[in-house]
């Protein structure tokens, strides 16, 4: 029976630089990714959504024939004379800017709140309240857009007009975007941001929750074993390890924020302008397409313009969604299949 004697004792201090063969970790991971991709392409189920998107794009292209695709199409001006008295200008960038002005803050708010919700459910809350919070956030996802919209202009708009807007301006009026005129009836960008925030939260919270939950327990325990407090483990281990999933959540939320039409159309005040501040009415690309659709049946050139807008919206939504799927990796599949753990 051997004892301590036969151990090769390394020299004190710097050990001998014996080359250690690198583990084929990365290559293995890549190979797995490639085969998964191949599996996806081979699967007819995967081709179905691809085909649908291509079909939608093709129909939109055909319908619009890109009739307005001049330099002014990418501009910031919109003017349409339905009776044909003056030439029309369809600048899509105006609506893209508006979409960003509304979706950006909504996404920032939703991401922050979702992160708080996800951290509480995964790390801090005991199982029962945690499950309740998850249930409640998921419930928000089940409310139809139009209900948010009606709630927005019937209940929230008066409150925003008389209280929320003046209060916010009172405190933050010195900040650019927070001062200036209010929207008398309460509808406007701020209300749209508020409604969108609530609508985005269930998506971002669910993806964030799953990615935090999927952080290996090993990593968490390793952090704790190094003398980190639970909060330090959240900040320095969980958030770091789940970073991709968290960014994925943000992109999926952005897709929702940019694409939402009905609820936004009902509360944003539908004014075709870049809003001079957060309170005034504006319009997002998606909501504009939605509420102009009926008129477009009267005016063929408006219809082609809207179809081109829809193409732009489709492109933006696709890019955002792909970025989200890419960033969140497996977590996105959880959402798509509607499953997830527990």
């Amino acid at each position: 029976m051997d004892r301590r004697e036969p151990i090769p004792r390394p020299a004190d201090g710097a050990s001998t630089p014996t080359p250690v063969p690198a583990l084929p970790n990365r290559r293995a991971a890549n190979g797995e990714g490639r085969s998964r991709l191949r599996g996806w392409l081979a699967s007819p189920v995967a081709l179905l959504p691809l085909g649908l998107v291509a079909l939608v794009a093709a129909v939109l292209l055909w319908e619009s024939r890109l009739a307005n695709l001049g330099p002014s199409f990418w501009g910031l001006n919109y003017f349409f004379d339905p009776s044909g008295g003056a030439p029309s200008v369809f600048g899509v960038s105006l609506f893209l800017v508006d979409s960003a002005i509304v979706a950006g803050p909504a996404l920032a708010l939703a991401s922050g709140l979702s992160l708080a919700i996800a951290i509480s459910t995964v790390v801090y809350l005991p199982p029962a309240p945690s499950r309740l919070l998850t249930l409640l956030t998921n419930l928000l996802a089940g409310i139809p857009s139009v209900v948010y919209g009606i709630w927005g202009y019937v209940v929230l708009a008066p409150y925003f007009g008389t209280t929320a807007q003046p209060t916010l301006r009172g405190f933050l009026g010195w900040l650019p975007g927070f001062g200036g005129p209010l929207s008398a009836g309460g509808v406007g960008s701020l209300l749209a941001i508020f409604i969108l925030t609530i609508m985005v939260i269930p998506i971002t919270a669910a993806v964030m929750r799953e990615s935090l939950r999927n952080v290996p327990n090993d990593l968490v325990e390793a952090g704790l074993a190094l003398g980190a407090t639970p909060w330090e483990v959240v900040r320095r281990v969980r958030l770091r390890a789940a970073r991709r999933g968290l960014w994925g959540a943000v992109f999926l939320g952005l897709g929702r924020a940019i694409g939402e039409s009905v609820a936004v159309a009902m509360v944003i005040g539908a004014s075709i302008q870049i809003p001079p501040n957060l309170y005034t009415p504006s319009t997002t690309l998606a909501s504009f397409i939605f509420y102009q659709l009926d008129s477009a049946f009267f005016y063929p050139n408006l219809l082609t313009a809207l179809t081109e807008f829809a193409l732009v919206l489709l492109a933006v939504a696709l890019v955002v969604n792909l970025l989200g799927q890419r960033a969140s990796g497996a977590d996105a599949t959880v959402i798509v299949t509607g499953g997830g753990r527990g």
């Binding site: 029976m1 051997d2 004892r3 301590r4 036969p6 151990i7 090769p8 004792r9 390394p10 004190d12 201090g13 710097a14 050990s15 001998t16 630089p17 014996t18 250690v20 063969p21 690198a22 583990l23 970790n25 990365r26 290996p216 090993d218 990593l219 325990e221 390793a222 952090g223 704790l224 074993a225 190094l226 003398g227 980190a228 407090t229 330090e232 320095r236 281990v237 770091r240 390890a241």
Partner: protein, 260 residues
């Protein structure tokens, strides 16, 4: 349990476990375990799978309470201080008593950031931080191998290097005790040997508790070894005596069966 005359009998134990009982919902995982861990030495813990080795060392730095549904009773003292006293902050316990797991668990960040993780929590930065990172890597015998490029992702290291990185990371917190749960189980023999040699070195400055399935490893590295069976401490003695002239039949069966 006999606590007969070892070499270090006059030095006070760094951890003393008394009448430790751990219960899961419907069963007893550890039953009235009593043992002392000497300072500046390697203590081995052996026993068949499921006998409670992991649970035992996880009670020593209050990691056990993270696995839900365990009832822990009895006493664990670190240098005379009851670590389960209500006023004790488990975070501080874990800073004194570090832990390394079976599979190397590196954070998805650079080598430097991995080792700096603990010291940063304690507010170290700048030159001080760099010094402690380098010192810890050196102690773990890794500095020569990884060279100057400490900004490489730690996940690019080999398995054995990762495990030594975990040891370096634990050392950077400057603990007094290092608990290791089968640290070489997932490594190839050469990498395992390096870790083993490292542990043997560390014995000079730290109390090392080594859980292992590898009886030869215990025989090579541990001064004293405890044999656990079905949650009970069967025998705890100098390693040589435990292996060569076990007092209990169970111990003999286990040690010989292993070599058999």
């Amino acid at each position: 349990m006999s606590d007969d005359g070892g070499r270090d009998v006059e030095a006070p134990p760094i951890i003393s476990v008394r009448e430790l009982t751990v219960r899961a919902r419907d069963r007893v995982i550890l039953e009235r375990v009593t043992l002392d861990i000497p300072d500046r030495d390697v203590t081995g813990i052996i026993g068949p799978s499921g006998c409670g080795k992991t649970t035992l060392i996880r009670t020593m730095n209050r990691m056990a309470e993270r696995s839900g549904g365990l009832a822990i009773s009895g006493s664990v003292r670190y240098r005379g201080q009851e670590i389960y006293a209500p006023e004790v902050n488990p975070v501080l316990v874990r800073q004194k008593i570090g832990m390394v797991f079976q599979r190397p668990v590196v954070f998805p960040m650079s080598i430097f950031d991995n080792v700096a993780f603990g010291p940063r929590l304690n507010g170290l930065d700048g030159d001080e931080l760099e010094a402690i990172v380098l010192r810890s890597l050196e102690r773990a015998g890794l500095l020569g191998e990884v060279g100057s490029d400490l900004d490489r992702p730690a996940l690019e290291l080999s398995g054995g290097q990762q495990q030594r990185l975990c040891i370096a990371r634990a050392l950077a917190v400057e603990p007094r005790v290092l608990l290791l749960d089968e640290p070489t189980a997932s490594l190839d023999p050469i990498a395992a040997q390096r870790v083993e040699a490292l542990l043997f070195e560390l014995r000079r400055e730290y109390a090392v508790v080594l859980v292992t399935h590898n009886l030869q490893q215990a025989a090579r590295v541990a001064t004293r070894t405890a044999f656990l069976y079905q949650g009970r401490l069967i025998e705890y003695d100098e390693t040589k005596r435990l292996f060569e002239t076990p007092r209990e039949k169970l111990t003999e069966n286990y040690v010989t069966g292993r070599f058999g």
